[in-house]
């Protein structure tokens, strides 16, 4: 078990190395002169040269890459071209709203999707099952910003029960924090809920056909105990896997959700950085989010042994 954990943790190193190399080399493989594109159409040659020097494009690739990796390992993601502030500083300022949004979405999605998927599998073939599946297909198909606008229009503008946009730090109290985040979290969660509900239903259907479930039924075990103890625990591995993989979609969706609800998070930071073509900021955020994603999936893999003690590797 410990050997497996150690090997699994070590295996994230090459993945992160490829991520770093890829994110870094984009500057070099992008068509055209990235310094000129970042500088914009009105830039003077001096501006372009300054940006080229600050990105290190005037020096050899390997030297520059080595330096950059060394800085990243020391917690330095470089400086913004636009504000000249350290990128780590800019991210740190914006991380709370994004983290709040993502954690709340994760909790909300699991709390809605897993019971819905279990219910659909249990009532397989009935209208409940069909309703859950229709909702799941719809959740996949309606883009995140469309969900956001519909929810904001209904609950904030028409019913006036929740704030339209904005963010209140958690330090100002859980109540206001939650009121501001409910709509964004449901918005961001829509596709995620669909994904988890689908896989939960599919795995539960398979598990419910197993002999031990029939045995439990025939010896008179309570229906709920069968569903949530016998079956769900054995269906947990695929569900947890899909939750881990779905975090990528959650990260991408957060960028959009923050724009729709005017939440001053890391997603907004990226959007602002695109408009200014502030590549070091984009680079830093992409690297950080990829790292989070790799870490989440590392945790998921390590969780397997908890749900299924047979997995020993």
């Amino acid at each position: 078990m410990y050997a497996y954990a150690a090997r699994r943790i070590l295996s994230t190193i090459p993945v992160m190395a490829v991520v770093a190399l890829f994110v870094f080399s984009l500057l070099y493989i992008a068509p055209g002169d990235p310094a000129a594109i970042i500088a914009g159409d009105q830039a003077t040659p001096a501006d372009v040269d300054r940006i080229r020097a600050s990105l290190g494009l005037d020096r050899p690739f390997l030297v520059r890459f080595g330096e950059w990796v060394w800085h990243v390992l020391n917690g330095d993601l470089g400086q913004s071209i636009f504000t000249n502030l350290p990128v780590t500083h800019m991210i740190a300022q914006r991380i709370e709203p994004t983290l709040s949004l993502m954690v709340l979405t994760l909790i909300l999605s699991i709390a809605i999707a897993v019971p819905a998927g279990v219910l659909a599998a249990w009532k397989h073939g009935t209208w409940i099952d069909r309703l859950v599946m229709i909702m799941a297909v719809a959740g996949f198909s309606v883009p995140v910003f469309v969900v956001g606008y519909v929810l904001a229009y209904t609950f904030a503008l028409q019913l006036d029960v929740l704030p339209v946009q904005g963010y209140t730090p958690i330090a100002n109290g859980i109540g206001p924090w939650l009121r501001n985040l409910v709509l964004p979290a449901v918005t961001l969660g829509s596709a995620f809920i669909a994904l988890i509900a689908r896989i939960t239903r599919a795995t539960m259907l398979e598990v419910l056909n197993q002999d031990y479930v029939r045995t439990a039924k025939s010896k008179g075990v309570d229906q709920h105990a069968i569903l949530f103890v016998h079956a769900l625990k054995n269906a947990a591995v695929p569900i947890v896997t899909i939750i881990g993989l779905g975090v990528a979609g959650l990260i991408g969706g957060a960028v959009v959700t923050e724009s729709v609800f005017a939440i001053p998070g890391v997603g907004r930071l990226v959007v602002d950085a695109i408009l200014r073509r502030d590549y070091p900021v984009i680079q830093g955020v992409v690297l950080m989010f990829s790292f989070v994603y790799v870490l989440v999936n590392l945790c998921v893999d390590l969780l397997y042994t908890v749900f299924d003690p047979r997995i020993r590797y």
């Binding site: 984009l26 594109i37 198909s141 910003f145 606008y149 990528a248 960028v255 992409v286 990829s290």
Partner: protein, 303 residues
């Protein structure tokens, strides 16, 4: 006697039957298909309608989608401007109809490009042992970058154009197809019929073309459908946050991005492209679900 049994005159009687049967049979076949694959039929029909709208946009009562008319800004939907006008006085109905072209082109192009590239990479790493480890580590790395962020990073370094949007989204999608194809190849090459072909001295290109490739087509088709759907959403997201299709071209994401500032007072500017985008993505997803169930039920778990 036997010659009379094969008398052509007797055979001539057969067409008489055929004349009666085909019409009934053909009608039955369409009904049967719809009955057996309702999601393919529904998704296909919806998608066909959207494609028709995109192709025949100039004939559907539209005006120039980029024509400015400051005098008639932000008119709500009415008899003349069915979907209203935006803040520059452009006709939202015309813009939404022309916008279908961008979404469909991006969706189909990304699906096709990533299917072809992914198939090539998957075949290579499934067959060339020494490349497998290297290629798959690279794919794992790219897959660890959330696809929208990867596309954003690529778009920040290039000038906005539909072509660059297609490239950016394709780069993010290729690893998934490669993994899928590689998985299929690895199981297929252990199959007895492939081993038999190898043992009997069949050339490698022929084995790949005749025995391996046809078996990867079903999963790739299904995967490509889902890629098409997600590419259309990604294009809209990129355009919405200002990193996608250039604002001069009407695309659903662009129309929504422009309507964003006014959405609390003029929600229809955002509403119409949103509905069209959702319906189109829904159609492609339905098609994908149906194809998956029809082509390979086992795939249901893998994707």
């Amino acid at each position: 006697m036997s010659t009379t049994a094969f008398d052509p005159g007797q055979h001539a009687a057969a067409p008489e039957l055929a004349d009666v049967l085909p019409p009934r049979k053909r009608r039955g076949r369409v009904a049967m298909f719809v009955y057996r694959h309702p999601t393919i039929a529904a998704g296909g029909l919806l998608l066909a309608i959207i494609v028709a709208i995109a192709i025949f946009a100039p004939l559907l009562g539209t005006v120039d989608p980029t024509a400015l008319a400051p005098a008639r800004r932000t008119r709500p939907p009415n008899a003349q401007y069915w979907f209203g006008t935006d803040m520059l006085g452009r006709d939202v109905y015309s813009r939404v109809l022309y916008g279908a072209r961008v979404s469909l082109i991006v969706g189909f192009a990304v699906a096709a490009c990533s299917a072809v590239l992914g198939m090539f990479i998957g075949l290579v790493s499934g067959f060339v042992r020494w490349m497998d480890a290297v290629v798959m580590r690279i794919m794992d790395g790219i897959m660890s970058i959330p696809s929208i962020l990867l596309a954003i990073a690529l778009m920040a370094l290039t000038r906005g154009s539909v072509q660059n949007v297609i490239i950016a989204i394709t780069v993010a999608e290729v690893p998934r197809v490669s993994r899928l194809v590689r998985g299929v190849v690895l199981t297929l090459r252990e199959q007895p019929y492939v081993e038999a072909a190898v043992a009997s001295g069949t050339q490698m290109p022929k084995i790949i073309l005749k025995h391996i490739l046809p078996n990867t087509l079903a999963p790739i088709t299904v995967q490509a459908t889902f890629i098409c759907a997600s590419a259309m959403i990604t294009e809209a997201i990129l355009s919405f946050i200002g990193a996608g299709t250039p604002p001069i071209i009407p695309s659903w994401g662009n129309i929504m991005a422009e309507g964003r500032a006014l959405w609390q007072v003029k929600p229809y500017i955002v509403f119409f492209p949103a509905v069209f985008l959702s319906i189109t993505v829904l159609a492609v997803n339905l098609l994908g679900d149906g194809l998956r169930d029809a082509l390979d039920p086992r795939l249901a778990k893998r994707i």
